[in-house]
């Protein structure tokens, strides 16, 4: 039964659903009860996935070509929730003949549904999400999580209800879209009518002429992986509490891929589309299925950048090992420092700060401020050998963190489009912006390449948004009549030429290259380093009360000795001390770490020219 189930679950999940549904109908008295629970579908699939090797066999949307995945099979998709559409009411189950049938987890309409005189139709609700591939996700994450899926190449068994040539149709369509978007009529031979019809429709749809980047709403632009353009997905989620999924969450969905030629054919009829666009505002009908697959989600799991790396069980084990052996943590820490110092041309102090910055995330939100994120500014002396330094730093970050993005600041970039997402009421979608990023993404803003120019209103607005994000970790989404504040958790690294700049960074380190140069990162170490970083970020920091005395005394001492001690400085020291502790893999603050932090701060302040930031 084991092998059979596994094939069934991946290749024919709807069959599993049906059988579970049938057993459920026997056990309930009235059909209305069927709406309230999922008949054990979710548990069943989860159990199945936990079994050895099954998870790896499920194909992933953005690492295997869409054409290779037949319809109505189980797939995986990892993405960030970019937009939430209205809840859909759909026909949940209906009586057909003798028994009840369900259309949960499908989009399509089975033929016997259309017959007039059907009875007892029940309406259920489901939630529609629009997810894009995680913006800024680095290549290595994709590799790690995708490589296991490749082994699960699906063969061509299809579900009987949809026409058999469906996969071929889609394949041809796939080929058409990959080749320069031309209507490739030569390919379509069998089932000419619907195929050609679809091609005609797709050629005539206007969205192709638009900038696809915007229409598909990728915050950071389109990217590709293994020569395939990354696709967003429309997710239909059942039976989940509304509060479980929030905007900008990174979630891994496992569900059933559906593709229904009947639906796609109808959705491009223009007249209906016009009326639809207002009354129904069904965005789904404007996104063709070949570009944006629809997945009916069976189970989902939230990911954070900290545990994205260790999604796979073997990686999880490795991570636990690293944490368990104290020597390994120290060793890895030193390796990271050496590597970073190599990138930074031997500046150890800056490397320390960079490491602490990479480990920072939001610890707590108070009423008016945020504790935890440490935004760093590295001041680079403007000289020819330093001109590539910002990009090298960004590259190092890219190799270490799961999600990062480098953004050189320029007038065109600022003036072009608003960075904060805004709601487009015409299309009833959330038009994305650069700053719609998942929690834990790292942003490098490069000011060294700025040139002279004039900012218009959009540019000024974007700068204000960026500043607000750095200070308060919130971004205002523009809903035309009112702004909606969304909280973010993005660490920002600024590289600039001067100590003073208009972006408010917490810590400003002047880069001083030293004579002794160490080498940059070694490829084979990177795997462990990534696990190390992910692991220590997750450590539950718990400050014992033993050190309170010392801390207080220090703070009092410092304020008495003059200088402008502000509340922010105190907070910064405490945060840095915390980061220092977890970077050593420990959970309790020790006096050495505190002293080290103070020392680092002193050195850093010394470096800053007197006029400083």
């Amino acid at each position: 039964m084991g092998k059979e189930i596994s094939v069934d679950c991946i290749r024919d999940p709807l069959g599993t659903v049906d059988s579970l549904f049938n057993s459920a109908t026997c056990s309930v008295n009235s059909t209305s009860q069927l709406a309230r629970w999922d008949w054990g579908v979710k548990d069943y699939f989860e159990k199945f996935l936990l079994q050895q090797g099954n998870y790896a066999q499920v194909p992933e949307i953005n690492s295997t070509p869409l054409s290779a995945i037949p319809a109505n099979t189980l797939v995986r998709f990892r993405g960030m929730v970019q937009d939430m559409f209205e809840n859909e009411f759909y026909v949940g189950c209906y009586k057909s003949g003798e028994g009840l049938r369900t259309t949960k987890y499908t989009d399509s309409v089975t033929p016997d549904f259309c017959r007039p005189g059907r009875d007892s139709v029940e309406l259920w609700e489901r939630r529609i999400l629009y997810c894009v591939p995680v913006p800024g996700e680095n290549q290595w994450v994709k590799e790690v999580l995708a490589s296991s899926a490749e082994t699960g190449e699906c063969s061509v068994s299809r579900r009987s209800s949809s026409p058999g040539s469906q996969a071929e149709k889609r394949q041809r369509d796939e080929g058409g879209s990959n080749i320069d978007m031309d209507v490739d009529i030569n390919n379509g031979s069998t089932d000419e009518s619907s195929e050609a019809k679809r091609r005609r429709e797709e050629a005539s749809t206007s969205w192709r002429e638009e900038k696809t980047g915007w229409d598909l709403n990728f915050p950071l632009g389109e990217t590709s992986f293994r020569a395939m353009p990354l696709r967003p997905c429309i997710l239909k989620v059942y039976d989940s509490a509304e509060s479980q999924i929030m905007l900008n969450d990174v979630i891994e969905f496992i569900g059933i891929l559906t593709f229904d030629p009947e639906l796609s054919a109808s959705s491009f009829v223009k007249s209906e589309a016009e009326l639809d666009s207002f009354m129904e505002s069904n965005v789904c009908s404007r996104l063709p299925q070949s570009q944006v697959p629809r997945i009916h989600c069976v189970t989902l799991r939230k990911l954070t950048p900290n545990n994205m790396v260790s999604v796979l069980p073997e990686l999880q084990k490795k991570q636990a090992e690293i944490l368990a052996t104290p020597g390994s943590v120290k060793h890895l820490r030193d390796t990271v420092l050496k590597g970073l110092a190599g990138v930074l041309k031997g500046d150890l102090l800056a490397a320390e700060y960079l490491l602490l910055h990479l480990l920072s995330q939001i610890h707590k939100r108070l009423d008016t401020m945020v504790l935890g994120p440490v935004s760093l500014k590295i001041v680079i002396a403007p000289s020819p050998e330093n001109s590539t330094l910002p990009s090298e730093i960004a590259q190092a970050v890219r190799a270490l963190l799961p999600c990062s993005y480098m953004m050189p600041l320029s007038c065109e970039g600022l003036n072009k489009a608003p960075w904060a997402p805004r709601k487009d009421y015409e299309q009833n979608r959330l038009a994305t912006g650069v700053l719609q990023l998942a929690a834990g993404t790292h942003l490098t803003v490069d000011l060294t390449s700025m040139t002279e120019g004039k900012l218009n209103a959009t540019g000024v607005q974007n700068l204000c948004t960026l500043k607000k994000m750095m200070q308060f970790q919130t971004v205002d989404y523009d809903f035309k009549y009112h702004p909606v504040e969304m909280s973010t958790d993005v660490s920002v690294l600024v590289t600039s030429n001067g100590a003073r700049s208009f972006l408010p960074s917490d810590i400003c380190v002047v880069h001083v290259p030293s004579a002794s140069c160490s080498s940059p990162f070694d490829e084979k170490d990177l795997g462990n380093l990534r696990l190390y970083l992910g692991a220590v970020r997750n450590l539950a920091y718990n400050q014992g009360t033993s050190l309170n005395e010392v801390l207080e005394n220090d703070l009092v001492e410092a304020s008495r000795s003059g200088g402008n001690m502000t509340v922010e400085t105190y907070h910064r020291w405490l945060t840095l001390a915390r980061l220092q502790t977890i970077s050593h893999g420990e959970t309790e603050l020790r006096i050495e770490h505190w002293r080290k932090t103070r020392e680092m701060e002193r050195l850093r302040m010394d470096r800053i020219p007197s006029k400083g930031c």
Partner: protein, 858 residues
């Protein structure tokens, strides 16, 4: 709305849509409206009994598979009740009666299934009782209940006339067509009927309509015989209002009420109701054909016997009857959006009088019937998608400009202005809001409510108790008064925070800005005068110049937080003069001359010139703000950073705790943020304290004492003396304090506390660092007390000396001489300047006269 032509009572459109073709589509709600004679009722019951078991009873499974008519969108999928029927006068009659008659035509034998779904609630007895489809609601009982309600319902027992009979008369007099029934009244009088109405709105509304029509006839005959409009019944103000997110499939076909904000309105769509045809051959026009479900039954043969031509009818579109329809999208109110989600929307269908009743951006409460309809895959296909579209059939629209907890505000001048209420609106049900109000009242009775409120304000900011108290007063605000003469006194309190950098001033500002969302946070440096008040912009849609509100106008009825106040340009600052006192902004530019309301409180934060506050100079010299502007601030706080070990230790402890402990530990016994905002909102709108006599006495005494201090000899020119403005400030403060306790009377302790707050605020800015004592004079006069005593001593010494040395009318004395003499006599260090000041004081007294350097005794 003009009357449609009365339809002939027996015109039966039996034509194309034969009953049998309807067999496939269960229509749950068709034909429930009944007008007309009771005989029809009996016929209906007959046909109902013969209904064939057809698809679903809608009640069990929620949805009929029916579509209403969407302009142009043909659907043949069985009809639910198209809402237009209700709104079109007299049209219902046609449709209904035609529907009825069609059914009644069928002999009981023929199944003609048509419109009877299998009824769940029991078979109707033939001829005796009529039941509503699919339920066991007896129609006659409901009719009687409705009649009882309308005829006899009185709001208060001592009313003479029934409320709705009075309304009916009024409507008939004024020739209106809508009767708005408050659903609460229905609930109060007949709960059962209310429940039925919410669950089966269409049927009950039909019954209401019929009853009203019956009842209006005698009244109309009596008052206004020409009245022949059909009065529509609209319900509003349902007992509970739902969140848009909670609309789920079980609410279909029920009456719901949702609140939201309108974001889009479509253009007006005309929907054809009656089609007029004309025969091309003979020119004969048969009677208008009612349009059902989007299908127009074109007669295939000309009805005139002489002609009888086939397929010769053509539609004359400008003699057809249309009704207005509009599609509107409603979005959740901003504060109902849960954290981390995008707002939900729902579509509305508005008909006839509701069209254009609201425009995008309005906050409304909508009462209507929630419906779902299936969609076809394509206009030419019969197959259905498994999706259903949902929308709300709008019955009644109410624009909201007040929050639920708001009482009538007599000074609320512009009702259409408010997008936001001053503090967050809550989507409560009545029970919830009652419970909340109870809780708030309980809280207000606590003896230490004042301290609690202070503790709960910005708990993460350390100390600064008195400043927090001042901010609390600002949040609560005094009461605005308007005299008969037209002068009005503002109720808003303005606060200025001055101090050294790094003392959490900006954090306080941020916190207050968060607490009072209808406020703007600007930085002085970045604001221009124009941006603060109002500016002229080009409207992208109409391409005209329109006035856009600036920061101060946008924070009308809120708090405007201005940071870096001293860095503001003088231009901008001069704007503030008017706003702070008159509470209006006058604009005269680009041909637009207007005076906008800006009833805001200003919370400003300034840094002293030079990086630290120089205690040796007076307040005015430290911050370069003109004293006129300073006097408009009710409270001026000085936040100094004094190195003090105890303080620092406590601060350090607080910070360390913030980082590592759970933040909730802090606010022990304090209110959390939502309660705080609810408390403030409630008290602002429900509590308008008045001064009691003793409190007034105390205030007057305090004010006089303050004045006396300012009136001192030797004071320099630039002083802040206590002006009547200060008295008003104290009054406002005491009112705010009384409001905190939800008391209607300002008591003595409030007055005392207000005086104390005023003192503290001034004291902080008036600490005399030289002597280490608190000297209020430093801010009011610019001169410290020690200095003052010195001067007064000098004056008396000089007076004595002049009394000795000079006689009236005799020779004069020269000032340097006097200086010598004084130096000899007294020990202190006297300068010529001091002598001159003292002499001028004496001259004012009239004791001497001075010319240049010579002193002459008078």
């Amino acid at each position: 709305m003009e009357d449609p032509p009365p339809s002939p009572p027996h015109a039966i459109s039996d034509g194309p849509s034969s009953p049998l073709s309807d067999a496939g589509e269960p229509t749950s709600s068709q034909g429930r409206r009944r007008r007309g004679e009771s005989s029809e009722r009996r016929r209906r019951s007959v046909s109902r009994a013969s209904s064939q078991g057809n698809p679903s009873s809608p009640l069990d499974f929620g949805t009929p598979q029916g579509t209403p008519n969407y302009g142009g969108f043909n659907s043949n999928l069985g009809t639910p009740f198209t809402p237009r029927n209700r709104n079109t006068p007299l049209y219902n009659a046609n449709r209904l009666s035609s529907g009825l008659r069609r059914r009644s035509r069928q002999p009981p034998i023929s199944p003609g299934g048509s419109q009877a779904p299998s009824s769940d609630g029991g078979e109707p007895a033939l001829g005796a009782q009529q039941l509503v489809w699919g339920t066991n609601i007896c129609v006659e009982d409901v009719e009687r209940a409705v009649e009882r309600f309308i005829k006899y319902y009185r709001e208060k027992p001592e009313d003479l006339e029934a409320k709705y009979m009075k309304l009916l008369e009024q409507i008939i007099n004024e020739e209106l067509i809508t009767l708005n029934i408050d659903a609460r009244d229905l609930w109060n009088s007949d709960e059962d009927l209310y429940v039925k109405m919410v669950r089966y709105p269409l049927e009950i509304l039909a019954i209401f309509d019929i009853q009203i029509a019956k009842m209006e006839k005698p009244i109309a005959d009596a008052i206004n015989p020409t009245f022949d409009k059909h009065i529509q019944v609209r319900f509003h103000n349902l007992k509970e209002s739902m969140h848009m997110r909670d609309l789920n499939p079980s609410d279909i076909e029920k009456m719901v009420s949702v609140k939201g904000m309108i974001i889009r309105c479509s253009a007006i769509i005309p929907e054809i109701k009656e089609a007029l045809f004309k025969c091309l051959v003979c020119g004969h026009s048969p009677l208008p054909v009612p349009v059902e479900r989007g299908l127009v039954d074109e007669p295939t043969r000309c009805p005139r016997e002489e002609c009888a031509a086939r397929n010769s009818m053509s539609l004359i579109h400008n003699r057809c009857r249309f009704a207005d329809k509009q599609l509107v999208r409603l979005q959740e109110t901003p504060d109902a959006i849960p954290e981390g989600e995008t707002p939900h929307t729902v579509s509305l269908c508005m008909y006839d009088t509701l069209v254009d009743a609201a425009k995008p951006g309005d906050r409304v409460e909508v009462t209507g019937i929630f419906r779902a309809m299936a969609v076809r895959l394509g206009p030419a296909q019969r197959t259905l998608k498994s999706l259903y579209r949902t929308y709300i059939d709008c019955l009644h629209l109410k624009k909201q400009d007040k929050s639920r907890m708001q009482a009538e505000d007599p000074f609320e001048k512009d009702k259409e202005n408010d997008y936001f209420s001053p503090f967050p609106e809550s989507n409560f049900t009545t029970e919830d809001s009652d419970a909340q109000v109870e809780k708030i009242r309980e809280l207000s009775q606590l003896p230490d409510i004042y301290e609690r409120l202070t503790r709960s304000l910005a708990p993460s900011i350390w100390e600064l108790e008195d400043i927090k108290k001042g901010l609390l007063c600002q949040l609560f605000g005094g009461s605005a008064k308007k005299l008969q003469s037209g002068a009005s006194f503002r109720g808003d309190i303005n606060v200025l925070l001055v101090g050294d950098p790094g003392t959490s001033k900006s954090q306080l500002l941020q916190y207050v800005h968060k607490l009072a969302p209808r406020g703007i946070y600007t930085s002085g440096r970045g604001s221009s005068a124009v941006g603060l008040t109002a500016y002229v912009a080009k409207d992208p849609e109409t391409k005209e110049m329109v006035l856009e509100s600036g920061a101060l106008v946008l924070s009308d009825r809120g708090i405007c937080c201005i940071d870096e106040f001293d860095k503001m340009s003088d231009n901008a600052r001069s704007m503030l003069h008017e706003v702070m006192e008159q509470q209006t902004v006058s604009v005269a530019k680009s041909g637009i001359i207007a005076s906008l309301n800006a009833r805001t409180s200003v919370l400003a934060c300034a840094n002293p010139s030079g990086s630290r506050y120089n205690p040796r100079l007076s307040v005015i010299d430290n911050i370069h703000l003109p004293p006129t502007l300073l006097s408009r601030f009710d409270l001026i706080y000085l936040v100094l950073d004094k190195p003090d070990e105890q303080n620092d230790r406590r601060l350090a402890r607080h910070l360390v705790a913030l980082h590592f402990l759970n933040p909730e530990v802090h606010v022990h016994e304090g209110l959390d943020l939502p309660t705080l905002t609810a408390y403030i909102s409630y008290s602002r709108h429900h509590c308008h304290p008045k001064l009691s006599d003793e409190a007034a006495e105390d205030l007057i005494n305090g004010y006089v004492a303050m004045r006396r201090k300012g009136n001192f000899p030797g004071s320099s020119k630039k002083v802040i003396t206590a002006t009547p403005r200060q008295l008003e400030s104290i009054i406002r403060l005491s009112e705010a304090l009384a409001r905190m306790r939800l008391s209607d009377v300002v008591e003595r302790r409030d007055a005392a506390e207000a005086l104390r707050l005023m003192d503290v605020a001034l004291q902080q800015s008036a600490t005399d660092h030289a002597t280490g004592t608190i000297d209020m004079d430093l801010i009011t006069t610019g001169v410290s007390a020690s200095e003052r005593t010195r001067r007064s001593n000098l004056v008396s010494a000089i007076r004595n000396m002049i009394a000795e040395k000079l006689q009236a009318g005799s020779s004069s004395l020269r000032a340097p001489q006097l200086l010598e003499e004084m130096r000899k006599e007294s020990t202190g260090d006297i300068s010529l300047n001091d002598i001159r000041n003292a002499l001028s004081t004496l001259a004012v007294e009239g004791y001497i006269s001075i010319q240049g350097d010579t002193i002459r005794r008078v």
